[in-house]
Symmetry: C2
Subunit: 174 residues, 2 copies
DNA sequence: GTCTATAGACAGATAGAC
DNA sequence: GTCTATCTGTCTATAGAC
């Protein structure tokens, strides 16, 4: 059977994330979100009683994807380090979009978003640290991942960045 | 003679930056900026005719500080690499605050801010690359700097991060 | 140079029709 | 489940007093 059309609820969450990522939090208004999802503001507010509600739902969806990502990282055939660095380059996946959207919300002084992201980061670090048995190296690799992510989401794109990082890490033989 | 009290104009720019950094772009309204600087909205609009004007002035001030920073990086006694990494940890300096504020503006799809930041980044990279004679290493160090900066400004603080990075870089003997 | 008052657009949210 | 109409507050910006 063909893939289902996403529910209106999911279309609204997608539109909210996309607006946050591409135009920033000031453009992610209820009006714009509803419009981008092809419904009216009243329609949006049937699914989410308030903007806070919309944020909560977005973060829940992100956390679910996060659990799956960390499980995938633990069992990745290329190993956790390469998996982590590869997925730090924005691939345009639904999870990437959710992470960037959550970061935008966190910047508006939102504790829920800040805590959700902090929790994910701790789990990524734990996997790197366990696998490498070297906290300093694990921290450095996470910083490189943060840098890749930051550059991508800020429009500072360097096509060879990942290649350069692999080159340098290869000199460290771990 | 004692240091001069900052002008109202500078107090307004400082307040704008601080609001952007601590509470995000949605809180950086003309009302809030004026209030934080201790003047009325009318007072603000005497100095800056529009919000766009305020952004332009903020970016100009940042670019001036950026030129001085790149000059300091070139002649730093500890060398450009260590200077760059140290100043990537948010020290709370006026320049750091301006950089973070500009990043917030850039995220709202503002080309001026995006271009100003991209230009600074290219100059930092050029100094690193010249000094090291190794593009891959220069890129990796810039990514680590971006990671340090991103973590600090997102509230993901790791007190030992800089120490860990130095530890790992020491293994690369360059 | 700084203020108050106000205009006009837009924000989040409610009520009720369909 | 989705719509329109509307309320209330806030946003940027203007006008004019002091």
């Amino acid at each position: 059977m063909p893939p289902e059309e996403p529910s209106t609820r999911d279309k609204l969450l997608d539109a909210f994330e996309t607006l946050l990522v591409t135009e920033g939090s000031r453009s992610a208004t209820l009006d714009n979100v509803a419009g981008a999802a092809g419904v009216s503001k009243g329609g949006l507010l049937y699914h989410f009683h308030s903007k806070d509600d919309l944020v909560d739902a977005m973060l829940s969806r992100m956390q679910e994807m996060g659990e799956r990502d960390i499980a995938a990282m633990r069992t990745a055939p290329q190993g956790p380090v390469d998996y982590y660095l590869e997925t730090s380059v924005d691939s345009g996946s639904a999870f990437d979009r959710a992470l960037i959207a959550a970061a935008r919300i966190a910047q508006e002084n939102d504790e829920r978003a800040g805590n959700a992201l902090a929790s994910l980061r701790e789990q990524w670090f734990a996997v790197l640290s366990e696998h490498l048995g070297d906290e300093a190296l694990a921290r450095t690799i996470q910083l490189i991942g943060d840098g890749l992510y930051f550059d991508d989401t800020s429009g500072f794109t360097h096509p060879q960045a990942l290649e350069h990082v692999r080159d340098v890490l290869a000199r460290l033989d771990f």
